[in-house]
Subunit: 260 residues, 2 copies
Amino acid sequence: MSETPSGAAPGGLAAPAPAPAFSPLYQQIKSLLVRSLQAGEWQPGQAIPSETELAARFGVSQGTVRKAIDEMAAGNLLVRRQGKGTFVATHAEQATQFRFLRLTADDGSTPTLQRRLLDCRRMRAPLEVSRALLLKSGEPAVQVRRLLLASTPEGLQPVVLDDLWLPGGLFKGLTAERLAAWRGPLYRLFEAEFAVQMIRAEEELRAVVATAADAELLAVALGTPLLSVARLSFTYGDRPVEWRRGLYLTTAHHYRNELH
Amino acid sequence: MSETPSGAAPGGLAAPAPAPAFSPLYQQIKSLLVRSLQAGEWQPGQAIPSETELAARFGVSQGTVRKAIDEMAAGNLLVRRQGKGTFVATHAEQATQFRFLRLTADDGSTPTLQRRLLDCRRMRAPLEVSRALLLKSGEPAVQVRRLLLASTPEGLQPVVLDDLWLPGGLFKGLTAERLAAWRGPLYRLFEAEFAVQMIRAEEELRAVVATAADAELLAVALGTPLLSVARLSFTYGDRPVEWRRGLYLTTAHHYRNELH
DNA sequence: AAGTGGTCTAGACCACCTG
DNA sequence: AGGTGGTCTAGACCACTTA
């Protein structure tokens, strides 16, 4: 990097969403690293260059690169492993099955969930979804519906009814067959096959009552209270790339959250 | 500090919940600072000594103190203000009204809420609460019930029915009169009058239906779906000091959450 | 043994706030 | 002007991983 924090020429980069021209060096490094991730220079799960190598590349000290990486690791974009290197975050690991699902069994255990695909088709998204995903009017979307089921002593019990919407342009080859054949986290499929990395999400929670259709799919009585979880997920650059609404049955499970 | 990271004598401190004997220096500094907060050496809202002063006191470099403070600031224990100093976090600021309340109006705005005290009395807590608060059997608790109301074009509408339980030993002078007279955040009262600082919390969310009593207080029909939010709040040292259950009416509001 | 991230230091300078 | 936190550097050494 040729700029120094105090001596950079004004004007800077003309990118669509550039960092402020005179941000701290480590913030500029961070932006550059995010762009490399976005451009696919390093794939999910792979190691990025070492701190000293990046420092040499950008012409800054190792400590400055370190601070940039620190923030990215705090934001779950990167994962540090002492002695091994720094890796691009991935949804591939077993531990991150259902990355954003905050569902916990009432005994405190993490439930083991099975998926059952209900539907996958391309269609126009409802207005609310089109707005959230910034779809141009008429731009197609992919809808996916599925159930998550927990195994209980009495057998499989549906716990979550999920309804997903994805921008059609980003998920061109996504079909029911592809989904049904996939083993592993959904977000892993998205990152591996469609180069879409889910980074963060916003959720809106409400209590609702089950409609007739919901009740049948979840195998509960009509009018059962359900936790409605509307989620908007973002990839690099705060670009929304998935909208979903989950209906959670909270009789033996709950949504767990930590506040700081 | 007389210990160095590599040359400390084994054994270390015999405190009930000590840090590992050979943790990094900045972690040890952090523990010492937390203990000072816990002991009330610096009051909420007040400035702690400057980084250089703390570095001199502990016999480490300013950068090491800085890293300790960084982590505490990230955990909302301290607040940094450039040019002014580092301050003990407080619930006194207007901005932190309803510190842990994640309620948002459906138009995205932060609702202005009024409180209405329903009840405050000392009594034995139910088993679930006693367990969560680690109360000894027979140890008394303080129960507080209240409503939060939002102003709408049609007038005040109840939105949250809160049911709090506090350890009696920590909240000796807490009465209905004291609560009714208090202006400002509840947690500010707790920190100012009872020296109890709420640091973090865990919540469990469920969808339930309003009972007759709930429905009347919230002015909704019996059977209305409500968002049940059970919260356990902690002070320094992960000590649980408040249990509450809120019933949220989510027809015009929702619970907002960010996932990373 | 060599490479990686993790910790610690010492010193310089900048940005912000107050008197 | 002087104090505070914020950034950046350069170098040392430690802890962990792999070969």
